[in-house]
Structures are given as structure tokens and as C-alpha cells.
């Protein structure tokens, strides 16, 4: 079986490499890809949409449908992971483990036993407990707000510099995952519950689709943001720029929530009690 796989991989690899010889050279101005639509985008993007980053203009405006369904695919991935992994009728662990913070003594409390109060010296710990690490926790606590501000910048500034909703959303989600790794999953779920994650992920897709629908209702075609000019109080060209910003925020919201949702389900095998 292993040998058959190796032979198949090598044959496919050779065929693929043989296929690349037919490709036009890298950065060839006469290649079919850069002689039909690309010149139009490069010449007209700034006049049409007032967006300096052509990639953002293409992704969110000229090819808005692609990006919308891409976001829907990511949302579907989050949903699929949820339906495959999530276990609702879970058996709760019989004993809960608490650690007395000043002394480091660990006690097991059986089901029905008296649990420590919220503000006492006891903290709930996972069954595979790793020692409290001051350096990691403090560093993450300090660095997370800065990463989040950078992620917001990437989303907001997506049409002037590289970046956009997708990248910013992933970075924003990564900060929450970093928090979950440096602390524990329970603390993170208390901050951003699963319900919030699912609502955010569907809300992002909805924001995208609803913007397109609004354009339709205002008498233009689907996802033609210039129809929003009266609503936003700007000229049609600037309205397309603002429309791109709105849908970038939608994409960012959706991607962030899906990344967190995926992490919750994968790291705890759908039980949402103990993470990594």
C-alpha cells in the first residue's frame, strides 16, 4: 500500500511538473491572465472605487460574490466542526479538582460536595494540570491587547495596505486562542462563550449578504456598493470604498469567530471542559 502510494505520488508529481512547462513565464506581461482583465483592474480600480490596494478592490468589489461565498464556506467549516465534534450529553467528571493557591495543595471534591466560593483562595484546575507560569501568563496578558489593536488596524486599513478582513480576523481569533493556551479553556469560554462565537460567525456572513441585499433594495444590482451613496452621504465612488470596509468588517467578524469556535471544539474534543 505504501509503495503504491509512493508510485502514485511520484507519477502525479512528474505530470504536474511537466504541466508547469506550458505555463507563461513569471511576470510575463503578454500572458493571457495579465492581458485581459488585469489591465482594467490596475488602470480603473482607483477611479472606480477610490481604493489604493487593487487586491482589496478586486476581492471585495469586482469579485464580491467570490469573497461572499468564501466567507460562507468558512462559516460552514465552523458549523461542520461543531456538528461533528460537539458532545452535549457529556458525562461530567465525577470529581472536580481545586488547588489552594497559597499552599499548592490540590483537593478533589466529589459530586455533591461543597464547592469553594468564587473569591476564595481555591482555583479550579484541569485534570492534567501544568504549573502556574508567571512569565507566560504575564507576557501573553501584556502582548494580547497590542496584537488585537494590530488586527483591527489590518481590518480597517485593508484597502490602503496589504491585509483585510480575512487576515485581520485570523489575527484577532489567534489572540483569543493565545489567551486560551496561556490560561485555560474555561476562563476563555467565560470571556467569549460558544454562543457568542456562533452568533458572531453567522452575523459576519449576514452583514456581508445584507449589504448586498441593501444595494439590491436601493435599486442597483447585488453587491454594487455605489447604490449606498445616498445612505452614506458620499459620492458613488467613495460609497464603494465604504462598502468594501463594511464587508471587510463582516468577513473579519466571521473569520475571527470561526477560528475561536474551531479551537474550542478541537482542543477539548467537543466537551468544552478542558483545553490544551
Amino acid at each position: 500500500m505504501k509503495k503504491t502510494g509512493l508510485i502514485m505520488v511520484i507519477v502525479t508529481g512528474i505530470l504536474l511538473i511537466a504541466g508547469t512547462t506550458e505555463f507563461p513565464d513569471w511576470a510575463d506581461p503578454n500572458s493571457p491572465a495579465s492581458s485581459h482583465v488585469s489591465p482594467y483592474y490596475i488602470l480603473k480600480a482607483i477611479d472606480d472605487t477610490a481604493v489604493p490596494n487593487v487586491v482589496s478592490a478586486v476581492l471585495a468589489d469586482y469579485r464580491g460574490y467570490d469573497t461572499m461565498f468564501e466567507t460562507a464556506v468558512i462559516f460552514a467549516a465552523g458549523l461542520a466542526c461543531f456538528f461533528l465534534l460537539r458532545q452535549f450529553n457529556r458525562k461530567r467528571a465525577k470529581t472536580k479538582m481545586y488547588r489552594h493557591v497559597p499552599t499548592g495543595i490540590i483537593i478533589d471534591i466529589d459530586e455533591g460536595g461543597k464547592l469553594p466560593e468564587e473569591n476564595s483562595n481555591f482555583e479550579r484546575i484541569d485534570s492534567q494540570w501544568t504549573p502556574y507560569d508567571l512569565i507566560i501568563k504575564t507576557t501573553c496578558r501584556i502582548i494580547i491587547p497590542f496584537i488585537q489593536v494590530f488586527a483591527l488596524y489590518v481590518i480597517i486599513h485593508g484597502h490602503h495596505s496589504p491585509g483585510g478582513g480575512f487576515q485581520g480576523g485570523v489575527i484577532l481569533g489567534a489572540t483569543i486562542i493565545l489567551f486560551a493556551i496561556s490560561h485555560d479553556l474555561r476562563t476563555t469560554i467565560k470571556r467569549l462563550s460558544e454562543k457568542m462565537a456562533s452568533v458572531f460567525s453567522s452575523m459576519g456572513v449576514f452583514l456581508f449578504a445584507a449589504t448586498g441585499m441593501l444595494c439590491l433594495l436601493l435599486g442597483s444590482v447585488y453587491l454594487d456598493y455605489s447604490a449606498l451613496s445616498d445612505l452614506l452621504g458620499t459620492d458613488p465612488v467613495m460609497a464603494r470604498s465604504h462598502g468594501i470596509l463594511i464587508i471587510e468588517i463582516g468577513v473579519g467578524l466571521s473569520v475571527m469567530a470561526v477560528m475561536i469556535w474551531l479551537y474550542y471544539n478541537l482542543s477539548s474534543a467537543g466537551k468544552h471542559n478542558e483545553g490544551l
Binding site: 482589496s56 496589504p162 487576515q167 485570523v170 481569533g173 489567534a174 482542543s267
Partner: protein, 81 residues
């Protein structure tokens, strides 16, 4: 563009790819895959596709590695083949 960079990075990409397949420890494979993604990100950046490079760095080298590690922790760490 300095072509030597291309050659070095492409070689490292191939080494990382073969290493990720060959290694028995799945956490090691995840880390090698992350290194592969990061080198691909460098290649995109060299070719001028900065947006793609950005996505590759954040998704490929960042979040997907965490998801791989999380999945490995819930299954087995050693691969059979």
C-alpha cells in the same frame, strides 16, 4: 530579485515538506508544516503577492498549526506509518 534567495528558500521548502511526511512524531510534523508555510510566505512576499503572503503567515503558519497541535493532543502523538 536575487535568485540565490529563491533557490535557498525553495530547497528549504522541499526539505520541510519531505520532513513533515517522514517524521514519526505528529507534533514535529505540525511544526515542520508551520515552517513550510512560513517559507511559502517568504516566497509569496518575494514574488510581490503581499496579501497572499500575509494570509499564509497568519493562517498557515499561525492558526492552522495550533489546530493541528490541538487535534494531535486529542488523538495519538505517534504516526503508524
Amino acid at each position: 530579485m536575487v535568485w540565490q534567495f529563491d533557490v535557498i528558500i525553495l530547497t528549504l521548502v522541499i526539505v520541510c515538506g519531505i520532513g513533515a511526511l517522514a517524521v514519526k512524531d505528529l507534533i514535529g510534523a505540525a511544526i515542520l508544516f508551520s515552517a513550510y508555510s512560513f517559507l511559502m510566505c517568504l516566497l509569496w512576499a518575494i514574488m510581490g503577492a503581499v496579501d497572499v503572503a500575509f494570509t499564509e503567515a497568519s493562517v498557515g503558519a499561525g492558526v492552522s498549526t495550533v489546530l493541528f497541535v490541538a487535534a494531535v493532543f486529542q488523538t495519538r502523538r505517534r504516526s503508524k506509518d
